[in-house]
């Protein structure tokens, strides 16, 4: 599937036909017009259908066979449609309840656990299909004690005795519907391309941010330090200040160089305004980290009036949630950097729940980490000078991603100009 097929507006999903059952119809269903009649009945009653399989008998005496998924807006309508179709010889495909096994070891799934995708998933419990909450790829599905709720759970978070779905019976994935309108995801013909008019793409991303905000969802920026190195900190700061970004996922480096620039005007020792290496500039980021550590953290530095500009400053001021996940090569790190990887992952998992759009700029590892957590309904725009970054995201299953192959600075400058108007950097 190509990404534009898989991306749906969040608000489209709300009125989409969520209740699904499959039927089979068998026999001389073509010449008797039973098949067209059944399809007509589904539509007339207000449902929709998808023919999953259709085998037409080769000779007149050979029976034909069709398997049809029926969708309806609610369970009652679905039951009414099924009841009607049974009269015409349709049978409901045998469906089983999901099987669960209690976790026998904490922090691990039972063998044969069902491994999730990032697509909306339902499990059948006591004859009813229920939505799996907190959809995330590469997790297991836990059923709560009441048997009425199911959610994705990460391997490390499994407590002893938690009922975990095993096998594929009673589990189904509901493919994300196509986007109806021509947003950036419809516009981008291919997942990743350097051959698109950038201004149009940037405008489309700006429109997506507006529609995400209008739908009451949040915009997540996942950023790498190249945002600072390329002189884009001011653009991002403007976007944060003006309410276009509500969450930030990054590492020690982005925050460090942002603060280095704010305090000393350099990024990795290079003057942002002049583009020249400053003497002893290679120490600047360490001095910046040291300053913040001496003050007790980024928030403390802002509160004490030491840090007065930049992305991190704006995040503190605008109360934008930021999660800085550490890595083994970090200097310092800054006190807010979370060095426990599983804890960082868990915080990121909680933070993405109300995200409707993720913009990933100039970072491969943080993009993949965030991509792994996002359900398929969340749109992802990946901006990188290296097409391989987008490809890596796609390869790991974040196929709702569209990529823009471009330097971070022109993209962010264009985006800020679209959304904020003329800005000073």
């Amino acid at each position: 599937m190509t990404p534009q097929e898989d991306v749906a507006e969040t608000d489209e999903r709300a009125d989409s036909q969520e209740f699904v059952e499959e039927i089979e119809v068998h026999g001389h269903i073509v010449d008797s017009l039973i098949l067209p009649k059944i399809l007509d009945r589904i539509l007339q009653m207000g449902g929709s259908f998808e023919i999953r399989k259709c085998e037409i008998g080769a000779r007149r005496v050979d029976p034909s066979h069709a398997r049809i998924a029926i969708r309806a807006r609610d369970a009652d309508l679905l039951a009414a449609i099924l009841g009607d179709l049974v009269e015409h010889g349709a049978t409901q495909v045998d469906v089983e309840d999901a099987k669960t096994v209690a976790a026998d070891i904490a922090g691990a799934f039972p063998d044969q656990f069902y491994s999730t995708t990032n697509q909306q998933t339902q499990v059948r419990i006591a004859g009813r299909w229920i939505d799996v909450d907190d959809q995330e790829m590469d997790c297991g599905i836990a059923i709560d004690r009441s048997g009425r709720r199911a959610r994705c759970v990460a391997m490390a978070d499994v407590p002893l005795g938690l009922p975990i779905v095993v096998g594929h019976a009673g589990v189904r994935v509901i493919p994300t519907e196509r986007s109806r309108d021509g947003d950036v995801f419809g516009f981008m013909g291919s997942a990743v391309s350097s051959e698109k008019p950038k201004a149009v793409s940037v405008r489309a991303v700006a429109d997506s941010i507006r529609s995400t905000r209008a739908a009451g969802k949040k915009v997540l920026l996942v950023g790498g330090p190249a945002i600072i190195h390329t002189g884009s900190a001011g653009h991002v700061a403007a976007l944060v200040r003006n309410g276009f970004i509500q969450k930030l996922f990054a590492g020690n480096a982005l925050a460090t160089h942002d603060i280095e620039q704010a305090l000393m005007g350099t990024s990795l020792g290079v003057s942002i305004s002049k583009g020249e290496a400053i003497e002893h500039g290679h120490q600047h980021h360490l001095r910046a980290i040291n300053t913040i550590r001496r003050l007790g953290g980024i928030r403390a530095a802002v509160d004490k009036g030491v840090l007065t500009s930049g992305i991190m400053y704006e995040c503190i001021k605008a109360d934008v949630e930021f999660i800085l996940a550490g890595s083994i090569r970090d200097d310092g790190p800054l006190p807010e950097v979370i060095v426990d990887t599983l804890r960082a992952q868990s915080l990121m998992r909680s933070a993405i729940k109300d995200v409707g759009l993720a913009i990933m700029v100039a970072t491969a590892l943080h993009s993949i980490a965030a991509g792994n957590l996002l359900p398929a309904r969340v749109k992802v725009v990946c901006v990188d000078i290296n097409p391989a970054t987008v490809t890596k995201l796609l390869d790991r299953g974040s196929f709702q991603t569209v990529g823009l192959v471009t330097d971070a600075e022109p993209f962010l400058r264009g985006l800020a100009a679209e959304l904020v108007g003329d800005i000073k950097t």
Binding site: D31, L33, V86
Partner: protein, 298 residues
């Protein structure tokens, strides 16, 4: 050509004892003497046409046993026994089954939970089995039968409760011709019949209510309760002789000439009759299938 063999049951215990279709009204019972008179007249006409009437012993408490058309269907030497929708008629099945076992048929039943009312709802026209569903038989059972017999089976939805069996609104005359009442079918059913029967003779609403479609066909003779001059002309123009014989006492129960007869040797319109006896398709491996009363294999 061999003599037609027709199973009939004398109306000794016939009457309107319950209401399972819009024609029945327990306050308007059938007159026993007139019923017997009308039934005997029908027998006489059929015998005159060279048919052998094989009689089924009447049974007290089974008033509708006279409607032998609903016993099941025959295909070569297989008798597929009915599964009646209404409990009040289910007592007929053992009597029919025993009769067909005795006559040398292999008797099989549909799986439990399916409803099928025999030649009332399943009529061959040419090589195709036209099958009514909704009020008595269900579509799933018709599909099951098509598969069991290995014949093309076209289920047709019946939409008017007065025409609750296919044989009340559709009657094959030969492998290419049939009479039918369009108002008993929906657009899909009418389209199927128009596409699959070469010559369709339409019966009007006022003719349909007098059971003009519920006709017995023996060779080129059509026997029915009542015939309008228009329909008579139509049938004669197609080479048929028409014999009307009053069956008003049976219409009180929603049946007429066709319902009172069962063609043991298969209807003339069924193409399989013309073929050499051929092997039946192998039995399905469906464990739900009841193979009742099979005669021992020789």
């Amino acid at each position: 050509m061999k003599n037609p063999r027709i199973l009939m049951c004398s109306p000794d215990f016939y009457g309107i004892e319950y209401e399972i279709n819009p024609w029945m009204n327990t306050r308007v019972d059938a007159d026993p003497a007139r019923s017997l008179f009308q039934w005997r007249a029908l027998v006489a006409i059929l015998e005159n046409l060279g048919a052998t009437i094989e009689r089924l012993e009447p049974a007290r408490g089974l008033p509708d046993l006279v409607f032998t058309a609903n016993a099941g269907i025959v295909y070569h030497n297989l008798f597929l026994s009915s599964r009646f929708r209404f409990e009040v008629r289910r007592g007929e099945t053992p009597l029919f089954d025993r009769r067909f076992v005795d006559a040398g048929f292999r008797v099989e039943s549909l799986p439990e939970g399916m409803f099928f009312e025999g030649a009332g709802d399943a009529l061959f026209c040419g090589e195709t089995l036209f099958a009514g569903y909704r009020f008595r038989s269900d579509a799933l059972s018709q599909q099951w039968i098509g598969e069991r017999l290995g014949v093309e089976t076209l289920p047709l939805e019946l939409v008017d409760p007065r025409y609750y069996h296919l044989d009340t609104c559709f009657c094959p005359l030969s492998s290419e011709q049939a009479i039918y009442y369009p108002g008993a079918f929906d657009d899909y059913g009418r389209s199927v019949l128009a596409a699959r029967v070469d010559r369709l003779i339409e019966v009007h609403a006022d003719e349909a209510v007098s059971f003009s479609c519920n006709a017995v066909v023996v060779g080129r003779t059509v026997i029915l309760n009542d015939v309008s001059p228009r329909l008579k002309r139509d049938l004669e123009a197609n080479g048929y002789t028409v014999r009307a014989t009053p069956l008003s006492e049976f219409i009180k129960a929603g049946g007429s000439a066709k319902c009172l007869t069962f063609r043991i040797d298969g209807e003339d319109a069924a193409s399989w009759k013309r073929e050499a006896i051929r092997r039946l398709p192998p039995r399905p491996a469906d464990p739900r299938k009841n193979d009742l009363h099979s005669p021992p294999e020789s």
